[in-house]
């Protein structure tokens, strides 16, 4: 599988989660807040998609962007643990 396809899978997963979030809060938001939500979604998916595609394209030439990737992984794991901990409390 090419690097761009894998990056698109990550982007699609993000968009799916944001869409689920939108569906769950849509009825509680005013029209203004809904527009703001859509605008933010477009900006975020655009920016993160571009960054992901760029990283995927670069990762073919680089052996492993180890430093930033490791930090990213640790932060993501930490965020996951924190979210899980909120539920426990």
């Amino acid at each position: 599988m090419s690097g761009i396809a894998i990056a698109l899978i990550g982007l699609a997963a993000t968009i799916a989660l944001i869409a689920l979030r939108y569906l769950s809060v849509r009825s509680y938001l005013s029209p203004g807040l809904r527009r703001s939500f859509m605008r933010l979604t477009a900006m975020f998916t655009g920016a993160s998609g571009l960054a992901g595609l760029a990283l995927a394209a670069l990762s073919g030439s680089l052996a492993l962007p180890a430093g930033p990737a490791l930090i990213l992984g640790i932060l993501a794991f930490r965020a996951f643990i924190r979210e899980a901990g909120k539920g426990e409390r």
Binding site: S24, A51, A56, P68
Partner: protein, 419 residues
Amino acid sequence: MNKLRGAAGFLAATACAFGIASADGRYFAAALPLAAWLLLAPRAPEAKLKAERSFDPGQPKKGEPVRVRLRLRNLGQALPLLSVADAVPAGAVLAEGSPFWRGSLEAGAELEVSYMVRCPRGMFGFAGLSCVSEQPFWASRAAFFLPCPGRLAVPPARMKAPSLTIGAQAVRPFSGLSGARRAGEGAEFFGTRDYYPGDRLRSLNWRAGALWGQNIVNLFEGERAIDAGIILDCRAEAYNSADQFEAGCAAALALAEFFLDGANRVGFMRYGAELDWVAPGAGREQRHKLRRSCAAATLGDHAAFERFDHLPVSLFPPGSLVLLVSPLLREDLRALRAMRASGYTVLALRLDPLGDFSGLNPATPSEAAMEQDIARRIMELEDAFTLARLSRAGIGLLAWDGTKPLWSLRMRGRAELRP
């Protein structure tokens, strides 16, 4: 836990783990949007809210729907997404509406949430609101508790009390409706005595004077207020069923309000699970206190209150009327006689252990086993013996089996005023 943020964290961490394991940078590219959504999320806005709670009606009847109104005011910044949930106390049943609200709240805006509950007799405490402030897009959230206390007292069902004409050894200097017979300014004839200078001439009894050859004046009965103390037995071992206890609570409140209506001073004591005491008083505020106390009555066991031996009857004014509402165990007789010997006028409302208090319907004869009939007969004989001893001790008795309305009860025996 916010499931979406949890899922994003899990997916991002999994992609990163794959990347590290396979030494392939493409998986990190897949994790980037997910991790960014997680990590770039700003904190949820801090809420500064003020909440007030009200009940309508403030003193509901048993089973009557009560509207709970919550008024929230946003004193801080605008909240794009706020969730508010009120906890309905145990025992209360949601009748209409929802104690949950979710939406956006502008700065300075007010919000009213209302719903209806039905409550049985009891005291229901509302603590506060569970609130969550969220960022709609980022799904970050801050949960907090907003105190909004409230207490809802649901007194027992109202009953009409039997009209008791019973007095007490000590009377108050004020007029009131009671059986206390004292000479004073009244309309009913009380007696006669010799004339003394200063007596009003219109009170002269001319016929008696002509008969006995001396001046006699009529005396009239002045109705005087008394001090009445109601004791509600809350010992779990004394009651056969919850219906019997509910009937006892309702009867205790009916009798307390009967004496209160007669401008008497009424005190109230709950004895059993705990010792709760409402000091003697009169008036509207005292009526509210009595209703709250009856609403809060619960059955329970306490080693110190198993018997009436520790009854702090001295809390009631000396010489006052003490009325005990209880099924009366055999061992309670001694305590009642001791109370009587201390100078109190004692009256007992006995809730018949064999009575039927479920809806106050007559008990339907059932095809009970022979053993049950014998047991019932033994209990009846034991009851008759106890009641006879009470009567001999000068303790008035109202026996209630639940098949007749409370107001139709007539006093057995005579509550004597002097030991």
